[in-house]
């Protein structure tokens, strides 16, 4: 019956040459394993950085920081009248963006009332995957008088921003209404 046993090497097993060869081999194995371990760690760090900087969520992570800084912006609509010093009404629209996902948006509102201009600042805000809410604010009644003498008792502006669900989506102001009474 044939066997697969290796040939006996009892005469050379204890020789110093063999021991030295085994030691050298063990050293070589240690060096190779250490090199591979260093390679793996370096590779992981490089890949982690690449995913962070270039990956889908990695790049939006940067915008998350920006979004938190711009989470709440107030848009002030100022109406200036040239007759009455106190004829000034402000319509304030507050846009609140809650942070849940990535993405940034730009919303610009522009309202013009009769005879006078209302300058509305543009607000940059970030939006979330869940919702972007926009509140309606109403100016105090009879607060403003326009240049042609028409008094406006109130101005209300409502803005509704649609929510963005994806990282690169841009919410848009879907309705801006101005009413005068």
């Amino acid at each position: 019956m044939p066997t697969d046993d290796p040939p006996q090497r009892s005469s050379t097993a204890s020789s110093p040459q063999l021991a030295a060869r085994l030691r050298a081999r063990a050293r070589r194995v240690r060096i190779l394993r250490r090199r591979v371990a260093v390679l793996v760690v370096a590779l992981f760090l490089a890949v982690w950085t690449a995913v962070f900087a270039l990956g889908t969520l990695g790049s939006t992570t940067t915008s998350t920081v920006r979004r938190s800084a711009l989470a709440t912006r107030v848009v002030v609509l100022t109406r200036r009248g040239d007759e009455d010093e106190g004829a000034r009404s402000a319509t304030t629209a507050t846009r609140t963006a809650s942070a849940a996902s990535a993405g940034s948006s730009t919303a610009t509102a522009l309202t013009t009332t009769s005879g006078s201009t209302a300058r509305i600042a543009s607000a940059q805000s970030a939006t979330s995957a869940a919702s972007t809410t926009s509140t309606t604010s109403t100016a105090p009644p009879a607060a403003g008088t326009t240049s042609n003498g028409t008094a406006s008792s109130g101005t209300s502006a409502s803005a509704t921003a649609s929510s963005a669900t994806t990282a690169s989506a841009t919410p848009t102001v879907t309705s801006v209404t101005t009413s005068q009474s």
Binding site: V40, V47, W48, A50, G55, T56, G58
Partner: protein, 189 residues
Amino acid sequence: MLAVSGSHFFWITSRAFGIVALILASAAVGVGVSMSGRLTRRRGPDLRIVHEALSLGAIGAVVLHAAALLGDSYFHPSLATLTVPFVSNYRGPFMAIGIIAGWGAVLFGLSFYLRERIGIARWKVLHRFTALAWILGIVHALGEGSDAGRPWFLLMLALTLGPTLGLLGARIMRRRPPAAAAPPAPLAH
């Protein structure tokens, strides 16, 4: 960097480990194919050590790839979702392929340490299935990977997979006996 990564830290880490696992597995398969097909003149024992170290690194990266997902607060998977195929609803088929590939890499890879118990010839046949697990891992990365469509990812994948696929192809072509060189059957008189 960690502060900026914030809640995405585990997500990014998991993806990084997945990519590292794919690179290391590709390298390990490449070295293994070179050894078995004698496609290189380097010393066998050294190659075997490198192959073993790369394989262990790949298996460790696969385990960490799954384990890091457990810490992700957005995905928030359970252990069963990450270890049992077809349990997760998130991109079901590709997730299942990834889990099968991961288990295959672990089991077929670690079978090396049981080869004497299994039997060398049987183990050699079994060990070939690690290449299949590696291919399933590629499918998983391309189908489910968040960066699958990104140029840098595709470039990295091409650079990593190209040489290994070439070696695998050379190995398969070498094994196939040439039809013209086959000796003719002796005629019986």
